[in-house]
């Protein structure tokens, strides 16, 4: 249907560029109006801080990405566990995490708990807090995907004699992954963006470093525009990757 309206993929790409380029031009023009050359030069002197901060953000995000996926899977399993207290515990955890702001969690956990326990490493604390937060959302995403598999599919698996594990492996997961991937990628993009809040515990990631540059140079906008692009550089590929995965897993039911 999309092709009908736009002609061909090539035409679609041209139209996309036709929107993107003027938008970028407008953005560039307004930045040129709003900022001054001296500010950019001052900020450019601190480019090392941006690069270092960007890599710290990448490291934090990659660690938290794996850990939060693991936590998400674990919570999903707990929520389907045959033991009722485990199900309740997982449920309470998910509701508590989803019901409070990440900033509050960072402050409470870092200063209130980790600090008291003697866990001083900001990076370890940051990854743990971020993963615990994102894991709760990921478990909801996985749960939604698993529950989308129809009863007739489970019955069919039962009728041909598959074991529980085989049913998950051959029937549920391959179908659920199609439901799970788009919102999961959204979660990963959120996780990267949320890592910026870790600047409140003085973790030297991208946002914290950009703030330092802004304060040292008195050039706020010139410091924060590169910051935004730093995050886009990470989140855009994820978005494109999901679209491709969605294509590959596409089948009708």
């Amino acid at each position: 249907m999309r092709n009908e309206r736009l002609g061909s993929p090539m035409a679609a790409r041209l139209q996309f560029c036709g929107v993107l380029l003027p938008a970028l031009g407008l953005l560039g023009f307004s930045l040129w109006l709003l900022t001054d050359r001296a500010g950019w030069r001052a900020v450019a002197n601190y480019r090392r801080l941006f690069v270092d901060g960007w890599f710290v953000t990448v490291e934090l995000s990659v660690c938290a990405l794996f850990l939060s996926t693991f936590i998400g899977l674990l919570l999903t399993l707990l929520r389907r566990a045959p033991i009722l207290p485990l199900r309740y515990a997982a449920r309470i955890y998910v509701e508590a995490v989803r019901g409070t702001p990440l900033l509050v969690q960072i402050l409470c956990l870092y200063y209130g708990i980790f600090h008291q326990l003697g866990i001083e490493n900001r990076y370890v604390s940051g990854v743990l807090i971020l993963s615990g937060f994102s894991g709760a959302y990921i478990s909801e995403v996985i749960r939604g995907g698993l529950e989308s598999i129809g009863k007739s599919q489970l019955e069919s698996a039962k009728a041909i004699g598959l074991t529980r594990a085989q049913t998950y492996r051959f029937v549920i997961f391959p179908q659920a992954i199609r439901q799970i991937l788009p919102p999961l990628a959204g979660q990963f993009a959120d996780l990267i963006k949320n890592s910026s809040l870790l600047s409140v515990i003085a973790l030297n990631e991208l946002t914290q470093n950009a703030q330092i540059v802004g304060e040292n140079t008195y050039s706020k906008l010139e410091s924060y525009v590169p910051l935004a692009f730093g995050y886009l550089l990470l989140t855009l590929p994820i978005s494109l990757w999901t679209q491709r995965l969605e294509q590959r897993h596409k089948f009708e039911t």
């Binding site: 007739s152 019955e155 009728a159 041909i160 004699g161 598959l162 074991t163």
Partner: protein
């Protein structure tokens, strides 16, 4: 085959779908369950197939009681080919994979053996050119034939058909019924829930009429259709055979 039901009952919530069936079918090769919707036909069939656990009573196939415990039940299901009304094929797998999956993962065939067996089954139903299509690319009749191929490929001791043509149009229905008739001629034993009275009459050597969760009447098709003994069965047949 000998099939015995002993006070078999199944309740869903407060509703007794099967309400204490006691009956013995001896020397039966193909048994058809007929009767009004909600009469308990499918539930009875599903208990025979081990897909539903009775709330009371027991059932035995060839003097062997079906044990409704997870491990025994899984073994039981593996020896039975079940064909559903809605085909229940896996939509993310092509026709061939739908058939080889149970052969490989449940019955321990090698990938090559499974493929060979599956292709033979597909060829037999003239579906070999569709081996690499997914269910969404095939018609209902083709899907149901694939589902039957999946059920017979495992060499089941018993086939169960749960309204296999209720989701199909008349032309596709005849294709599927032809196959079931063919299976009968080669001596396969099966139970069938159907609304196709003409077919039940031709293919079954015993027919049971179920209503309100009980077997009201049963016998050879010529007797049951020719001279129904109960008012309920007479009324039902008069209604469904009216047009």
């Amino acid at each position: 085959m000998k099939l015995s039901f002993n006070g078999l009952a199944k309740s869903f919530g407060g509703h007794r779908a099967v309400d204490g069936v006691t009956a013995v079918f001896e020397d039966v090769r193909s048994l058809a369950f007929i009767g009004p919707s909600g009469g308990g036909k499918s539930t009875l069939l599903r208990m025979v197939g081990g897909l539903e656990t009775p709330t009371e009573g027991s059932l035995a196939i060839n003097e062997e009681e079906v044990i409704f415990e997870p491990a025994a039940l899984q073994k039981h299901r593996r020896a039975i080919g079940f064909v559903f009304q809605a085909f229940n094929l896996f939509p993310h797998m092509d026709a061939l994979r739908n058939i080889t999956l149970p052969l490989e993962k449940v019955h321990g065939l090698s990938a090559a053996q499974a493929r060979e067996t599956a292709m033979a089954a597909l060829k037999r139903f003239r579906l070999d050119q569709h081996a690499h299509k997914r269910p969404a690319e095939l018609s209902g009749g083709q899907n149901q034939r694939i589902a039957i191929a999946r059920a017979i490929a495992i060499k089941p001791k018993l086939l169960l058909f749960d309204e296999p043509t209720s989701a199909l149009d008349p032309e596709m229905t005849s294709g599927v019924l032809d196959i079931i008739e063919e299976l009968k001629e080669e001596g396969r034993e099966f139970l069938l829930v159907t609304h196709e009275m003409g077919f039940a009459r031709n293919v079954a050597d015993r027919v049971a009429f179920l209503a309100d969760g009980r077997i009201v009447e049963s016998g050879p098709p010529s007797e049951l259709f020719g001279a129904p003994q109960t008012a309920a069965c007479r009324d039902f047949l008069a209604r469904v055979l009216k047009y």
